[in-house]
């Protein structure tokens, strides 16, 4: 990837999500929550899910602080997974998340873009183990 490929990194799609994030805040009745950080940028993201009895994600919220890529990606992720089943989320791959972000990310910035996704994956897999609330 050459430097010129970064030109559109901060396009409207990213900046809109960064400035007006989808479901940024907290759920009062979250089924589960999990947080993580990216030591490179100091990004922090916390994800909270409300999952119904059928195993569908009714609501997804995030909170956090960090670079535009990490925060916009968390917002995009929350928008994407609402209505999906836990099984569907388990099937999501990192590339699916990168595709949702749309803009090209270098290997370094993929850590920002995938932070929320990584937290989500950790959370849904720990659901299988405990079915309970796991918060760091």
């Amino acid at each position: 990837m050459s430097s010129s490929d970064y030109e559109d990194l901060y396009d409207d799609h990213i900046l809109d999500h960064f400035e007006s994030p989808y479901h940024k805040g907290h759920l009062e009745n979250a089924t589960c929550s999990h947080s993580g950080k990216n030591p490179l940028c100091g990004d922090r993201v916390q994800l909270e899910l409300l999952i119904d009895e059928d195993g569908h994600i009714e609501q997804a919220y995030f909170d956090g602080k960090g670079c535009a890529i990490s925060q916009a990606a968390a917002s995009i992720l929350c928008e994407e997974i609402e209505g999906k089943s836990v099984e569907e989320v388990e099937g999501m791959q990192a590339q699916d998340m990168l595709d949702l972000i749309k803009v090209p990310l270098t290997a370094t910035r993929q850590r920002c873009g995938l932070l929320g996704f990584k937290i989500l994956k950790t959370m849904v897999y720990s659901l299988d183990d405990s079915g309970g609330n796991d918060s760091t």
Partner: protein, 417 residues
């Protein structure tokens, strides 16, 4: 570790002509504006030539061969050591140990001196602006020996609060670890006063000179310091090589940290005895060509002269402070230019430092954005990260303007202007 304020002008275009990498345009066509010399400096032609000369003409392992190349490489290596000895004002070349870099040098002291001589209840004085390289080894040592860490507080503008020095020094203080110049704030620390007071308490002084060496003269005997470390790669020399200076009696008394080939005198089935200095601390094969080329970096810097380098960098620094201060929402962290070397770390309201650095890159400006291996300092600054422009002898005033324009470009991109 002093510097003067005025001096003859540096011919910056002639200097730039010595650095081939500065003339290679980036893939997007922008000219390179390299403002990350604090992380690692670019290399002048004489250093590159010396590496090639070594590999093409007389390369062999050092301190091993009796054949022509073996003798020649030793002569080159020891000539480099003597250049460094003179450069830092050491009394003897044997007090100059080649290491892998500043981090390894400081670990040599923490383990070689600290493990042998530190006792439970002893105290080590640190401060929050230290790079992790001059912090974490002391933490590890203190944990192992049940020693206590004490922190000299900082002033609100990011200098060591010297009025509190007497509060942290006492009869139990065994060591003060301090940087000559902060890698984030740029602050130049008063090593003379620290050394005088530390020595009066019977404590040793370890100076992290990684940021000092490229910018100002070093004299380990004025003020007297006990150990001093710097890296080749920040000093326009090759990566992979660094220097540990230690006073001879301390190096003689302490244990080697790395043991193995080349550092022994005699080996018996159950124990070994150590070689004379400096071999005692140079186990294994050194970064030979790199250590030799570090001598060429010393020649290069001395050829320009620190008076000219300092005057040039101070102009860049003052201009950077002046120009960046006009940008809305931009905060420079650290003291005013007269108290620091040519590093400007800043934050811009509304743009995360990593996003800012990425947008600066689009304009060809290479700045580092992170906590710069100073998590305690960033905690103290109450920001997760900063963007750092670090200037060196090859930067120009025009590049300061490019930096300012690129920051404005980033603010527009983020809909802040």
């Amino acid at each position: 570790m002093t510097h003067t304020a005025a001096g003859p002008a540096l011919d910056v275009e002639a200097v730039r002509a010595d650095f081939p990498i500065l003339h290679k345009p980036l893939p997007n066509g922008a000219p390179l504006v390299y403002l990350d010399s604090g992380a690692s400096a670019q290399k002048p032609r004489p250093v590159l030539d010396k590496l090639i000369e070594c590999y093409e003409n007389y390369y062999a392992n050092a301190h091993r061969g009796v054949y022509y190349f073996g003798v020649r490489i030793d002569e080159e290596l020891e000539a480099s050591r003597e250049k460094i000895q003179r450069f830092i004002g050491a009394a003897q070349p044997e007090e100059v140990i080649f290491t892998g870099g500043t981090t390894m040098s400081i670990n040599f002291v923490a383990y070689g001196w600290g493990r042998k001589f530190l006792k439970a209840g002893d105290e080590i004085v640190l401060n929050e602006m230290e790079h992790h390289a001059n912090l974490v080894p002391w933490q590890q040592l203190a944990r192992e020996k049940q020693a206590t860490l004490k922190y000299l507080p900082l002033t609100s503008d990011g200098r060591l609060d010297m009025s509190r020095l007497d509060d942290v020094l006492n009869g139990r203080t065994r060591l003060v670890a301090v940087s000559g110049m902060s890698n984030v704030l740029g602050t130049i620390n008063p090593i003379d006063e620290i050394a005088t007071k530390a020595h009066a308490c019977g404590a040793l002084v370890v100076v992290d000179a990684a940021q000092t060496a490229p910018h100002m003269p070093i004299d380990v005997r004025d003020p007297v310091v006990d150990f001093l470390a710097f890296s080749g790669h920040k000093f326009f020399g090759p990566s992979g090589v660094g220097v540990l200076y230690g006073r001879r009696e301390l190096l003689e008394a302490m244990d080697p940290f790395l043991t193995g080939g080349g550092m022994i005198d005699e080996v018996y089935p159950n124990y070994s005895t150590w070689a004379e200095l400096p071999a005692k601390f140079e186990a294994g094969t050194l970064p030979i060509a790199e250590a030799i080329a570090l001598g060429a970096a010393v020649d290069y810097v001395e050829g320009l002269g620190f008076e000219a380098i300092h005057a040039h960098e101070q102009r860049l620094l003052e201009k950077a402070h002046r120009v960046l201060a006009e940008i809305p929402g931009l905060v420079i962290h650290g003291p005013t230019p007269q108290h620091k070397g040519s590093i400007v770390s800043f934050t811009v309201d509304g743009i995360h430092p990593h996003d800012l650095a990425q947008l600066l890159d689009q304009k060809g400006v290479a700045c580092r954005a992170s906590h710069h291996c100073t998590m305690l300092l960033h905690e103290w600054l109450n920001v997760p990260a900063t963007t750092r422009a670090s200037f060196a002898l090859y930067n120009t005033e025009a590049e300061v303007d490019v930096l300012a324009e690129a920051i404005q470009f980033a603010r527009k991109k983020f809909r802040l202007a």
